[in-house]
Amino acid sequence: MNIAAAANEDMASISNVLIYSAMAVYTLAFLAHITEWVFGSRSKVGRTAAALTQHTVTAPPAAVTVTATRKAGGTTVLERAEVTTRSATGRRDVPDGPGAAAGDEKGELYGRIAVSLTVLAFLVHLGGVVARTLSVQRAPWGNMYEFSTTFSLVAVGGYLLFLALGKNIRWIGLPLVTSVLLDLGLAVTVLYTDSDQLVPALHSYWLWIHVSCAIISGAMFYLGALATALYLFRDRYETKLASPQGKQPGPAASSILGRLPAAASLDKFAYRINAVIFPLWTFTIIAGAIWAEAAWGRYWGWDPKETWSFITWVAYACYLHARATAGWKGRKAAYLVLIAFACFIFNYYGVNMFITGLHSYAGV
């Protein structure tokens, strides 16, 4: 074994230590999030969240104030325009819930701690992926272990980016951190593969392009799917509230769902993320086809991986169509997103493990 190889092995073990550390920090973030939710449920705002929602079913149109500073002859003038927004008729005008902490001071503190811990975990996780990259001296997604670790890294990165941009997305923190822990757990136990180079078929710069796009698409679709799942719960909750004579949501459901954003906000968030990522996913498939053309002599051969990418793509196209079709908006379209994301996941785990095709990786 030469010196370079030894250095690579060192890097590989550093990477493993960092990934385990990241898991530990994610676990702390998870606990902090749980604490935030628990404190939030005790808060007054949290307890009255349901009632609050009920009151505002007939909320007046909301006003948005937009201000601009303008230099007028050396002095700064503050200009203001107030824009009234309203929903179309037949839509519930429900405001967003107060968030996990529901205004509770301690809850808010733990929420902030959870986010800080997530940032820390993300950095450690990033270090782990970078060390792995240095160790294998190629893109860090040559096998399922590497794909999984990079995938959850990108998902968390996307979440933190949205937070940094000031988007209302803290509500996704708990489910996201939970599933990242599951993903990493699966990666280090079942999928672990020692750091190594690739078989010749994977030696191509298309590996960088195609797989990085696939990972980003998957991670963002994942955020979209999480939001959609929450939308389905929240939508049922709002529907129950809107018909006071029908069955009402239980106290636990009210406490949790009442603190989530309104169904319409969740739906819109999910739609936007899916719509923005759909072209990237399309590009991923095109890039894969170009690569396949170079490697196997045909750009499309209905290999299982290709087939499932196509199925995923068509499923998301279905969703986008459903949104434009009367009678298919809302819940039905939401089920389509979940189906589409399930196809993505199956393409990743199922096809690699249960179906043999040309796309088999090094290792698992």
Binding site: A81, K268, G297, W302
Partner: protein
């Protein structure tokens, strides 16, 4: 630059442009809300009776969004079996295996075309219907869109406050002046504008619709490209041993598949010689034996008398020659042998390709010697069955398995037969198998089956003076796939325009803004600005506000008569993280 705050989520609601329920806000908005998209109308009822009416109804159903949605869903469902069942197109051997293993399911699957899903009647039916639907949808939409491009933005609805985003203020500027300023300003913001009555109507984002049309048309282009590739393609395989060559004629292929309209007699003239093949493998670590590089060094020529040129072919880098591409698919070893017959003359000499059986290239093969004279000078035929391992792990393990894929310690083990090879039976023969029906195995002096292990350079002598076989050395061979696929360029162009169109249709927002200026009873002018966009677009209020702010210098706001909304006191109001 305007500093903007986000609208409270969940309040900017669904715009009515797509809802086809007449009881919604659509009616209230009238023409103003119409056709913000050109999605086809959903109509359920059967309109007119009679054949023409019925055909028309069917057509309208087929080209409706709902049916497009169902067909898309069916298409994805229909692709699933193809990924679970072995497919003849990709792996015919697995199909045969499956049929051998499943007595009952096999024939049923065959009947249902489950081994050829993507060419099956039912799969084709779905995508043909989908594409008819697409064409039936796209053509009228294109006309409609062309019409919209020529027409002007629709007039303002009566009540601007009903629109999803709305703002208003009073000013001392003349209404005429405000409208003119609004006109100029919207034009500068690249809105299409039109003055009508007391309002200025404007619209922007037509590129969205154009993008959507381009995307759907590109899908059709891609389908055409795909069909072209299927009908005119050819794909052939060829195994070439180091030092040998290939020229592109029908007889040279080991197998050649081609599309229905491909002319097999008119193959373009080109060829190549395999000068050498290099392979390296991982030597240490858990992935020991995994291939690291495969490289075929070739010299190729093109045209009737083209100059030979050198090149290399690697896994991801095919050779492009004569409108075809030559891909490197696999490799293996070919032991070089010399067989002398009972008379001592050379009956066979040359490399014999052995087929790899596992990742360490344990290979099996046969050597056929059809022209052979035995010790007495009688005509006979010889056959050898052999196992070749590039790295021999040592005797004693019973069966022979290679320990490593590189040529570290090559060993070949052979058993020998004599008799009729069956080459004259007229039936096609597999060059990698011996037909033992009319052959007899050599036995040694003790009556045991004759078997011998050879290292390169060694010679084995057949019992009874039947001749010798010497193992002269080992060459590598490589398999190549020669593909000719028209329509690739078209498919790529279609894919890229589809991507461009799709991005335009998802990222560009089509929206309308109306500015109304009316003279109030108190002599001041009431300015109203309202906007309409698609429901998913959250920045409509910001856009309306930006227009409002830009209009302020020409229409300075008067203090509101009474402060009705407390929000105006606090500029931070309405801002949510």
């Amino acid at each position: 630059m305007p500093k903007t705050t986000m609208p409270p989520p969940g309040t900017a609601g669904e715009s009515p442009d797509n809802s086809r329920n007449p009881a919604t806000a659509e009616e209230a908005l009238g023409a103003a809300g119409a056709q913000l998209s050109t999605a086809p109308l959903e109509d359920g009822g059967i309109a007119a009776l009679g054949l023409v009416g019925w055909v028309r109804w069917c057509w309208r159903q087929l080209t409706s969004m709902r049916v497009a949605l169902i067909l898309l869903f069916l298409l994805s469902l229909a692709s699933i079996p193809g990924s679970l069942m072995p497919q003849r197109g990709t792996d015919p051997a697995k199909v045969d295996q499956y049929k051998a293993d499943h007595d009952i399911l096999g024939p049923i699957a065959e009947k249902l075309q489950l081994f050829d899903v993507y060419g099956s009647v039912w799969f084709s039916a779905i995508y043909i219907l989908l594409f008819i639907s697409l064409i039936g949808c796209i053509v009228p939409r294109s006309w409609q869109f062309a019409g919209q491009l020529r027409s002007r933005p629709p007039a303002a609805p009566r009540n601007l406050t009903r629109l999803p985003a709305h703002t208003t203020w009073r000013t001392e500027a003349e209404p005429e002046q405000v409208r003119e300023a609004a006109h100029r300003l919207l034009k500068a913001r690249r809105y299409r504008t039109r003055a009508e009555g007391e309002a200025v109507a404007s619209e922007k984002g037509y590129l969205r619709e154009a993008g959507n049309l381009v995307f759907h048309v590109s899908l059709i282009v891609m389908l055409v490209a795909f069909a072209t590739g299927q009908l005119w393609n050819s794909e052939g395989g060829k195994l070439v041993v180091e030092g040998d060559g290939f020229s592109n004629t029908l007889s040279q292929y080991d197998d050649l598949r081609s599309g229905a309209l491909f002319d097999r007699e008119k193959l373009p003239p080109f060829g190549f010689t395999l000068k050498g093949f290099d392979a390296t493998y991982e030597r240490t670590g858990p992935q020991k034996g995994t291939p690291r590089t495969f490289r075929a060094r070739v010299s190729y020529w093109e045209g009737a008398d083209g100059e030979p040129r050198s090149s290399t072919i690697t896994v991801n880098h095919p050779l492009e020659v004569g409108g075809s591409k030559v891909y490197l698919l696999g490799h293996g070893y070919a032991p070089v042998v010399t067989v002398k017959d009972g008379q001592g003359t050379i009956a066979y000499q040359g490399p014999v390709a052995f087929l790899p059986q596992d990742s360490n290239v344990t290979s099996v093969g046969v050597i056929k010697v059809p022209n052979y004279l035995d010790a007495k000078g009688n005509k006979d035929q010889l056959g050898f069955q052999g196992v070749f391992v590039p790295t021999f792990g040592g005797a004693g393990s019973g069966s022979m398995f290679s320990q490593f894929p590189a040529l570290d310690y090559p060993v070949m083990a052979l058993t020998a037969y004599r008799g009729d090879l069956g080459l004259d039976s007229g039936l096609p023969q597999n060059v990698y198998q011996l037909d033992l029906k009319h052959m007899k195995q050599f036995t040694d002096a003790k009556g045991q089956k004759f078997r011998k292990m050879l290292r390169p350079g060694e010679t084995m002598t057949l019992p009874g003076g039947a001749g010798t076989l010497s193992f002269d050395g080992v060459k590598e061979w490589a398999t190549f796939q020669v593909s000719h696929r028209p329509g690739n360029g078209l498919a790529l162009a279609g894919a890229l325009t589809a991507l461009t169109g799709l991005s335009a249709s998802l990222f560009i927002q089509r929206r309308r803004i109306w500015v109304k200026a009316t003279l109030g009873e108190d002599g001041t002018t009431l300015v109203e600005i309202a906007g309409l966009g698609r429901s998913e677009w959250s920045r409509l209020p910001e856009e309306v506000a930006a227009v409002a702010l830009a209009l302020r210098p020409d229409a300075p706001a008067l203090p509101a008569p009474q402060d009705s909304t407390p929000a105006s006191a606090d500029p931070a109001q309405g801002a949510r993280p």
